[in-house]
């Protein structure tokens, strides 16, 4: 479904992403971990057209999407959340979510259809009660959920999540995990960047570890926590302790 080939991105002298390759099959749930500054967000920006790679290629469903603007990539069926939340602050929660349905998901001219299409994403993320609240007035956790709800409204086949649990309370993490499981079992392919390692371990079928822009390791969650290089460079200590 998604094939990342030798992707690199340099900022001046800094190689933020360096020769990263990754293949994600239809229906997979792939986790991406790595310390701050490892290049995770940059990788996501490269895939979704916010940045142009210095070299390498990205294929989605067999076709290259490098050079396409983000809205075309969205139309192709890729949804994404932002680590640094970007709500439409003056719009209500409902209008935020409807926008995704209007221009990408349902791709309709009818506000009525879009409003209906916004129901399920709001319900899944627990935002229904806040539908008329201006997005700018939400808590950080709620804004993260709104990111997810908007992305869902675009009806993606591939969903990229960038630290969607950051700022969400402990109790809500469990709820969101349940939501992600549900979305995944409905057939959506998911690539998830997450700081909370235990979340990645529990949800992912496969994990990629990035460090200094390079792929350090790729394998099953079990293999990742046992890999010496990963423990040394990233986890720093056995996972059983507190990985968050």
């Amino acid at each position: 479904m998604l094939e990342v080939r030798d992707l690199s991105k340099s900022f001046g002298g800094l190689k933020a992403v360096s020769e990263v390759s990754l293949t994600v099959g239809q229906g997979e749930f792939v986790g991406v971990i790595g310390p701050n500054g490892a290049g995770k967000t940059t990788l996501m920006n490269l895939i979704t057209g916010y940045m142009r790679p210095t070299s390498g290629d990205v294929l989605f469903e067999g076709r290259s999407i490098v050079g396409l603007p983000p809205y075309r990539i969205s139309h192709r069926g890729v949804g994404r959340t932002f680590q640094v939340v970007r709500p439409f602050a003056e719009m209500s929660v409902e209008d935020n979510v409807m926008t995704g349905a209007l221009f990408s998901g349902a791709r309709t001219n009818s506000l009525k259809v879009a409003r209906k299409a916004a129901e399920l994403p709001m319900e899944l993320t627990g935002l229904t009660a806040k539908r008329h609240v201006a997005a700018g007035a939400l808590t950080l956790g709620e804004k993260k959920k709104l990111e997810l709800a908007r992305a869902l409204a675009t009806n993606p086949r591939l969903l990229l999540l960038d630290e969607v649990m950051g700022g969400v309370t402990r109790g809500e993490v469990g709820e969101l995990m349940e939501v992600l499981r549900r979305i995944h079992s409905a057939g959506v392919t998911i690539i998830m960047i997450e700081h909370l390692v235990e979340v990645i371990m529990e949800l992912s079928q496969r994990v990629m570890v990035l460090n200094f822009g390079q792929k350090l390791f790729e394998g099953t969650p079990d293999a990742v926590v046992e890999h010496p290089a990963v423990i040394e460079s990233y986890l720093g200590k056995p996972l059983e302790a507190d990985a968050a």
Partner: protein, 328 residues
């Protein structure tokens, strides 16, 4: 009651009717004020459309001026009627808006504003430099024999003003409104939701440009005379934004209320303090500044009070147990 949408729509319809009806009444001074209010409503509504999409125009007099010249030149050259030249000005303004959108690409904020300002100043200078077309600084008269009665123009202005507000209302209830607001708040995020910013911007600026140009065209018929200073006066650029800001930016009623308030205020201060030229203008300016400083939501916000929110409707419960609908 004031917040009920039916009340607002009713009030709008009644005002529209009153404005149109007033043109059949022979009261030259009142007619003149209402005509100026009408053209200002169009100009302000046009400015507000761009502002709604996060595009601050400092060059609305460019559209106004081009529309004015379109009307006068077309009328003089081939005897075009008011309706014909009005339509022509709509088209020319729309094309000009589309070009502006293309040229400015993804410029936002102050950069976009500066380009629009340069456009209107540039056009003013161009108009001065081609005296064989525009009459240069000497100016240009619309052929007297072509001019319809003032009352026809009052009516035309009133209908056009109502039309511009209707267009704004239709847009406010459309997909374009969602794209505009999303782009205003965060263009990058808007793209990930499938919004093509340049395309949406082109549509908005073209509609806005067409409106402002048409307002200029009607006004040129009314004035009957043009020179580059009159056509591209900065005054219109300033009024085009003060009216919506004073009335209530990003609202439909705002530009209308603002236009009425500005004409009332400027005429009021002129009549009461007219003997002291400077004092009346100073008072006008002071009141404007105070209003804008203390009414962030404009006069409309004052009436509506509180945050402008829809009434919460009970959320339909969805069968969460079944996830078929999740994301097929």
């Amino acid at each position: 009651m004031l917040r009920s949408p039916y009340f607002m729509v009713g009030l709008g319809l009644l005002s529209a009717l009153a404005l149109v009806a007033s043109t059949f009444w022979n009261a030259p001074q009142l007619n003149d004020w209402l005509f100026r209010i009408s053209t200002l409503i169009i100009l302000a509504t046009s400015w507000n459309l761009m502002a709604n999409a996060g595009l601050v125009s400092l060059g609305h007099s460019a559209f106004w001026g081009v529309g004015s010249y379109t009307a006068v030149l077309a009328a003089n050259a081939f005897g075009g009627s008011v309706l014909l030249t009005f339509t022509l000005a709509l088209v020319v303004g729309g094309v000009m808006g589309a070009l502006l959108a293309l040229v400015t690409g993804s410029l936002k904020g102050i950069f976009f504003a500066i380009v629009t300002l340069a456009l209107s100043e540039g056009l003013r200078i161009c108009a001065l430099m081609v005296p064989e077309v525009t009459g240069g600084a000497v100016g240009l008269f619309l052929k007297q024999e072509l001019r319809p009665s003032q009352h026809t123009l009052y009516l035309f202005g009133a209908l056009a003003a109502v039309g511009s507000v209707v267009v704004a209302a239709v847009i406010a209830g459309s997909k374009l409104q969602f794209a505009s607001r999303a782009m205003r708040d965060n263009e990058a995020a808007a793209q990930m939701l499938g919004i093509a910013p340049r395309r949406q911007r082109l549509i908005v600026v073209a509609i806005s440009g067409a409106m402002a140009s048409a307002a200029g065209a009607i006004n040129a018929w009314y004035g009957g005379y043009l020179d580059p200073e009159v056509a591209f006066t900065l005054h219109n650029t300033i009024l085009s934004q003060i009216a919506p800001i004073l009335g209530g930016i990003h609202t439909i009623a705002g530009p209308v209320v603002g236009a009425v308030a500005i004409i009332a205020l400027s005429e009021g201060t002129r009549i009461w303090l007219g003997t002291m030229e400077g004092v009346s203008q100073l008072t006008f300016g002071l009141i404007l500044v105070v209003c804008i400083l203390f009414l962030p939501k404009g006069l409309v916000g004052l009436v509506q009070g509180g945050p402008n929110r829809r009434k919460p409707t009970p959320a339909p419960r969805l069968p969460l147990a079944s996830t078929q609908g999740a994301k097929p």
